[in-house]
């Protein structure tokens, strides 16, 4: 008998609105993330970042629930468990890198997970070297360039050995070289992830499926549609249907 495997994380019937806003951003919305590599695309302000923050428990929906491996997450404690398995890469790397040196920042997660300083140091070294960032270890974080900051913040999350990555507009303000490097890194990761991006070309190179998020609903974009978009309008970020 085939065993039913629950999606890694799911949001069920979630209604959410920011304080002081009349119209909810999501109403009774459903969305699930399996173990796969997907892209999320949608116009500015459509709630992509909000959705990620709800999944991570940073925002609490008015109604509905977040399910982690099939179980409803009830409280902060549950989300703490979830955060060990799901890593979120923020839009602005300066928010993510707060330690003075790169090595300390990468080791922050492992230390919190209970590893000893020696083990944390080893894990961080390994993670940085896997990303080709070995020579960054002693660097002072605020002296890094924008692209370097992005790669290091990815390392800080990978050091926690998550099962799923959520990346919020990772190619924003990224130079071409770092962008290619990121594509390379993501393709070589044996890990599931969901990427928010306006960069069709980037999504095409890094993900299998792309979902569109608009007016509080998530719909699947066809592969062909993604391809067409890429050639038709490189920076078009409004999801829409192509009628045959």
């Amino acid at each position: 008998m085939m065993e039913y495997e629950a999606p890694l994380v799911e949001v069920q019937n979630v209604t959410f609105s920011y304080q002081g806003r009349k119209h909810p951003i999501f109403e009774e919305m459903n969305f699930s993330l399996e173990r796969e590599k997907i892209g999320l695309i949608g116009p500015n302000g459509s709630g992509k970042t909000t959705l990620f923050h709800i999944i991570m428990g940073l925002l609490v929906p008015r109604k509905g629930a977040v399910l982690f491996k099939g179980n409803t997450v009830h409280d902060e404690k549950g989300f703490q468990e979830l955060r060990k398995s799901i890593g979120l890469l923020f839009q602005d790397a300066d928010d993510q890198l707060f330690s003075p040196t790169v090595l300390e920042d990468v080791a922050f997660g492992p230390l919190n997970l209970g590893f000893s300083p020696e083990e944390a140091r080893e894990i961080s070294r390994q993670t940085l070297s896997n990303l080709g960032l070995s020579n960054f270890e002693p660097r002072i974080t605020h002296n890094l360039s924008g692209g370097e900051k992005k790669l290091v913040s990815l390392a800080t999350i990978l050091a926690m050995k998550p099962e799923l990555l959520l990346l919020d507009e990772p190619t924003n303000n990224l130079d071409q070289e770092t962008r290619f490097r990121l594509i390379d890194i993501l393709n070589n990761l044996d890990l599931s992830y969901a990427i928010i991006s306006h960069d069709w070309d980037f999504l095409e190179k890094t993900t299998r499926e792309v979902y569109a998020i608009e007016k509080g609903a998530v719909t699947q974009c066809e592969r062909a549609c993604l391809h067409e978009h890429h050639h038709a309008h490189l920076y078009g970020d409004h999801p829409h249907h192509h009628e045959d």
Partner: protein, 253 residues
């Protein structure tokens, strides 16, 4: 960006335990600042020069730092000899100046240079981050150390944010003048910077929570003292103690 000119090169002092360096720098400063005699001051200056040489600092940069300090002491040289009173002596044949005023100005100059050199050699050779951790290990309250570390990390970011806002204002034709409009605009800029920083601190806290932070900081650097470090700093501290005893003995005598 905060340039740390001296923390990039390498020397024994660069590698030495920051705790020892902090203790040494603070003791030298206290003894020299309290001293009343030239001999202590001169000994201190010799010690400081020795430390600067030991740290192999770039002489040009050191000279520039000393220049900055001595612009300040130059004002003392301009005012103290004329205003200090007491015994006077002739100067350039046409005016009289205070002998004690000259003496005090000289002592202050000596002390100031000595302390600055000691700090350049001992403190600026450690990155601020390790100084922050070292202060914590020396018993400074954790909150203060974190305040230091986070300020150090985010001052550059906050200043960038302010510059971005003021650039936006300038692009729309804002030129600072002495009028209410200018004051109000600057007030807005400051206020917006505050709001932005507040929001950023909130996001940083979220980022920390996402990486399983639960209110406790674990350090990656359990520093261990080496024998050589202990000996070298033992010698330095002995010198400092001798200077302190000399001062004390002179006071008694």
């Amino acid at each position: 960006m905060i340039p740390e000119y001296f923390s990039y090169t390498d020397s024994f002092l660069h590698r030495a335990d920051p705790r020892l360096k902090i203790v040494a720098a603070v003791s030298i400063t206290v003894v020299i600042a309290m001293s009343r005699s030239y001999i202590t001051g001169l000994c201190g200056l010799v010690l400081s020069f020795f430390l600067v040489g030991f740290a192999r600092l770039d002489i040009g940069v050191v000279a520039r730092r000393l220049l900055a300090v001595n612009i300040f002491t130059a004002f003392l040289w301009l005012t103290l000899p004329l205003t200090y009173g007491g015994e006077t002596m002739e100067f350039l044949g046409f005016m009289t100046i205070s002998r004690e005023g000259v003496a005090v100005a000289a002592l202050i100059t000596l002390k100031a240079n000595c302390i600055v050199l000691a700090f350049l050699a001992l403190m600026s050779t450690s990155p601020v981050s390790s100084l922050g951790h070292a202060l914590g290990q020396l018993g400074l309250p954790e909150k203060l150390c974190l305040l230091l570390l986070f300020s150090y990390r985010y001052i550059a970011v906050i200043s960038q944010e302010f510059q971005r806002l003021s650039r936006a204002a300038r692009i729309r034709g804002f030129t600072p003048k002495t009028n209410v409009h200018t004051y109000r605009t600057y007030a807005y800029l400051f206020a917006m910077t505050l709001v932005n920083s507040w929001n950023r601190s909130h996001r940083v806290q979220q980022a920390m929570m996402l990486r399983c932070f639960n209110g406790r900081f674990y350090t990656l650097h359990p520093e261990r003292l080496t024998a050589v470090e202990c000996v070298v700093f033992g010698v330095i501290m002995t010198g400092v103690f001798i200077m302190a005893f000399w001062e004390f003995w002179k006071l008694q005598g």
